[in-house]
């Protein structure tokens, strides 16, 4: 049972046969609804299992190759959305002509999404009101930094 429907598999294969570069195939796959859906909802183990199954086929077809590329890209998207680190490519990806270059490009473009909170010093601000008119605000050095009125 594939993660992709028959219609999606056909669609992926038609794109794979006209793609002229790894970059164009990868960027199109990253926008494909089925690939995005799998990246968002499928278990990594399921993606890896189907990818391994596709790569181990004795006789590759455009459909099996296109599905392999789609799974590879989905895996990269999923890892990028998770830890932000793609890590090493899945085993056997070198059997895809463009597999290593697609993976390397996705890894290079991945940005870690972990966040850190920095507590910054709050600047001290001194102000006074002069006859109810303009209110100059002074910084710590005593010079005005804002003047209204």
């Amino acid at each position: 049972m594939s993660l992709f429907s028959d219609v999606d598999r056909e669609d992926l294969a038609k794109a794979a046969v006209v793609a002229n570069t790894p970059s164009s195939l990868s960027s199109w796959l990253q926008r494909h609804p089925a690939v995005r859906g799998i990246a968002a909802t499928a278990m990594e183990t399921d993606i890896l299992a189907e990818l391994a199954e596709q790569l181990q086929q004795q006789r590759h077809t455009e459909v099996s190759i296109a599905v392999s590329y789609a799974l590879l890209v989905a895996l990269g998207m999923q890892r990028r959305a998770g830890s932000g680190l793609l890590g090493e490519p899945p085993q056997g990806v070198e059997r895809l002509t463009w597999g290593p270059s697609i993976w390397d490009a996705m890894r290079a473009a991945a940005v870690p999404t972990s966040t850190g909170v920095i507590k910054a010093d709050v600047p001290r601000i001194a102000s006074y009101s002069d006859f109810g008119a303009a209110t100059p605000i002074f910084g710590p050095d005593g010079h005005p930094i804002v003047r209204r009125g």
């Binding site: 294969a13 038609k14 794109a15 046969v17 006209v18 793609a19 002229n20 570069t21 790894p22 970059s23 164009s24 195939l25 960027s27 199109w28 077809t61 455009e62 459909v63 463009w98």
Partner: protein
């Protein structure tokens, strides 16, 4: 076995390339449906694994160019200049299709550009498929909708 040929820019930089050798059954079946999927396009040749679109545009139909960074190199070293106004585009200029990252997904040679609409028609090659005479945007979706035109000033 795929082979490569000696290919250089006008400034003598080597361009990595590879000649394809096989047409698959899927590609043959896919090509049969092209006329239905693109009824306004004209398919002027049969299938060929030897060259791809960039090979048509930059290598006289002799080989395939895969690496998108080499397309930028060729544009620079062959002294191509961008034609920014679409109504200034002339037959013989080239079009580069780009994805949202700016990488070249496809290329072709402008065949005509007639007013008042000035929507160029292009000869390009779709993978191992036939050379195709088509309107600018009448291409497989994988090529994207962004494009730039260039003219060689060498």
């Amino acid at each position: 076995m795929p082979t490569s040929i000696a290919l250089q820019t006008a400034l003598g930089t080597d361009i990595e390339n590879e000649q394809g050798t096989e047409i698959s059954a899927f590609e043959r079946n896919w090509s049969v449906r092209l006329a239905q999927d693109h009824p306004n396009a004209k398919f002027r040749t049969g299938l060929s694994p030897t060259y791809n679109c960039h090979g048509l545009t930059f290598a006289s139909r002799r080989t395939r160019i895969w690496d998108v960074s080499l397309i930028q190199l060729i544009l620079r070293e062959d002294l191509f200049e961008e034609i920014k106004e679409q109504h200034h585009v002339l037959p013989g200029d080239i079009v580069i299709y780009r994805d949202y990252n700016g990488d070249a997904t496809h290329s072709g040679i402008v065949a005509d550009n007639v007013g008042p609409l000035f929507i160029p028609r292009v000869v390009s090659k779709w993978g191992s498929g036939p050379e195709t005479f088509h309107a600018l945007h009448d291409v497989p979706p994988v090529y994207g909708a962004n494009h730039q035109f260039f003219r060689c000033r060498a």
